[in-house]
Amino acid sequence: MAELRRNPLNGQWVIVHVEDSWGPEKYEREDHSILAKATCQFCSGREFFTPPEIEALRPIGSAANSPGWQVRVIPNKFPALRIEGNLDLRHDGMYTLSNGIGAHEVFIETPAHERNLADLNDDEMFHVIDKYQSRLNDLTKDRRFKYVLIFKNYGESAGTTVEHPHSQIIALPMVPQYVMQELEGTKAYYDRYQRCVCCDMITQEYRDGARVITDNAQFLAFCPFASGYPFECCIIPRAHTCRFDTMNDGEKRVLGNILRETLARIKGCLGDPSYNLYIHVAPVNDGPHEHFHWHIEIVPKLMRTVGLERGTGFFSVPTDPDHAARYLREAAVAARR
């Protein structure tokens, strides 16, 4: 049996297979052997191979682009967009186009090639989140940008071409389609009920309990009721906020804790799958978007050959999110540090 479920954030319908739901063993495992360490440009000691760093966490007094750093932010060597110029939006008959301005940077999360974001300790994790926030805030100062997306591709089938642990940030002069859909969906709900749909969702997730993976004082990690992909996870602040940019150190630390724990559970439960992670923050420079509730989505890449959603727009999910959450809750993970 399958059923259709509506994602309350954006109105997307997904097909969820609630009977004969697939467990972790049904999905293919992917090999993440370390192959490219000898030539890795992100490793400590090879700083001169990358474009000059934008920011880095390094000992006081140490020179930029020298070894000794803990987290390093560099421009993407092969950027999808260019930083120079003004947005030149123009019409060409029925078509609209513009020059491709934007920023595209890379966070090197650790100098250690073989480590994995899920294996960082709480301090290291805090510093990664801290750099996410710092770059988001810096790029927001550029008034040309309307959106800043922080994301991570882990593993080859999730689209990464570099083994060394890293994540990326792209600043864009327009708000992307999926974020727009969430903004519109949450706004429509707010206008109708004078409440935030994410806050209502958090209340219901706590009441139901079945889809909760883990939580702490400030964040909840759960498998969304209308997940578009199997074992999809969402990490969301428990209290309403559209601000990622103003999180204080304590909040960043507990976000790091739950992110690390969730990634470790995914790794433990699904055998270190490739995944995509992205942070949906509110648009920048044209707020306020008080009705929006920022969150992180993590999508393990378990099926290499999904095809239904391309074109039809229907997502078909072989694992019931209730089951996915149970597997993730029960996964053995290293004790919190």
Partner: protein, 327 residues
């Protein structure tokens, strides 16, 4: 300099990366293709026991997942905030030939015409179920989880997907603004520009869209305006079969027999005015067409998380490559 381009129907932006461009001829390693034409017995080679429909030796079978009641008393549910429909609709597989041919590109035009006629027949039959609002006809070719025996699918649902709703709304908005159909305008513009045309026939135009999301994405658009596939294709079944064959052959020969998906995009069912709802003006707004997407690239975090696509080759170059490809 890379370029942003906006899809004129949905308003979705894509990045066309011009300097990083990979040359079209470089695609000899489609990532999703892991075909096993080995000694496994193909399920679809066996004549099905209880087809729901046949035309000659084309057979249509219903999938086990199908569940569709008719009438308004269908088992809907609400789980607090969450809406649930227990009724997932109808899913059928069209087995295009009894022979073990895998790519539709290798079927004769006459056979493809019969397949198109089968789609129309199933579409009209499924439309009788008043519970269902929308049908999609699609194909996934060369993906390992499917049998490599030429087949396509029809899926009819009680709801429309977000992507389709946006497309319908976008076309509706364009009509309100311009009093013209966006796809009719697009056909006119593309014939004038020429540079994005893959092939043009008397009744159809195949183009790489201005704001292509995927490498070698191709739209096949009928020149004659009609919102609905089953009605619009009447009298043009042969013409659709012919352009399908040409485009699929170009994709096969030019892109090393890559895996691909295509979907026939058509208006929701319009049985009577009472159930049209938001789509009162659909007959003038919307224009059926086929969207074909070769599977040459992976979706990474940026695309998945934002819906913002990066296309590594300018559409004009992709169209030129396919246009010049011999069949």
């Amino acid at each position: 300099m890379p370029e942003f381009r906006q899809d004129p129907v949905i308003g979705r932006w894509v990045i066309i990366s011009i300097e990083r461009a990979r040359r079209p001829g470089n695609f000899i390693d489609p990532i999703n293709r892991r075909r096993r034409d080995d000694d496994q017995v193909c399920d679809l080679c066996v004549k099905p026991e209880s087809p729901v429909y046949t035309m000659g030796d084309i057979c249509v079978v219903r999938s086990r997942q199908s569940s569709a009641t008719s009438g308004p008393q269908a088992p809907n549910g609400q789980n607090g905030l969450y809406e649930v429909i227990k009724d997932v609709g109808i899913h059928e597989t069209i087995i295009e030939t009894p022979d073990h041919v895998s790519n539709m590109a290798d079927l004769p035009v006459g056979r493809i015409r019969e397949i198109v006629q089968t789609y129309v027949a199933r579409f009209n039959e499924i439309e009788q179920n008043t519970r269902l609002t929308h049908a999609l006809i699609y194909k996934n070719y060369g993906l390992s989880q499917f049998a490599h025996h030429a087949c396509s699918h029809i899926m009819a649902m009680p709801v429309a997907s977000l992507e389709i709703t946006e497309k319908l709304s976008g076309a509706q908005q364009y009509f309100r603004d311009h009093k013209r159909c966006v796809y009719c305008d697009l056909v006119e513009r593309e014939i004038k520009d020429k540079k994005r045309i893959v092939v043009e026939t008397d009744d159809f135009l195949a183009v790489v869209p201005f704001a292509a999301r995927f490498l070698f994405e191709t739209w096949i658009i009928p020149k004659k305006h009609h919102a609905d596939f089953a009605q619009g294709v009447r009298g043009q079944e042969e013409g659709l079969a012919r352009i399908f064959k040409i485009v699929l052959q170009k994709i096969k020969n030019g892109l090393d027999d890559t895996a691909y998906n295509w979907v026939i995009q058509t208006a929701p069912f319009r049985r009577q005015d009472a159930v049209r709802g938001k789509w009162q003006t659909i007959d003038v707004d919307y224009h059926w067409h086929v969207e074909l997407i070769p599977r040459l690239t992976r979706m990474a975090g940026f695309e998945k998380g934002s819906g913002f696509y990066i296309c590594a080759i300018p559409p004009e170059e992709m169209a030129e490559y396919l246009r010049d490809k011999e069949i």
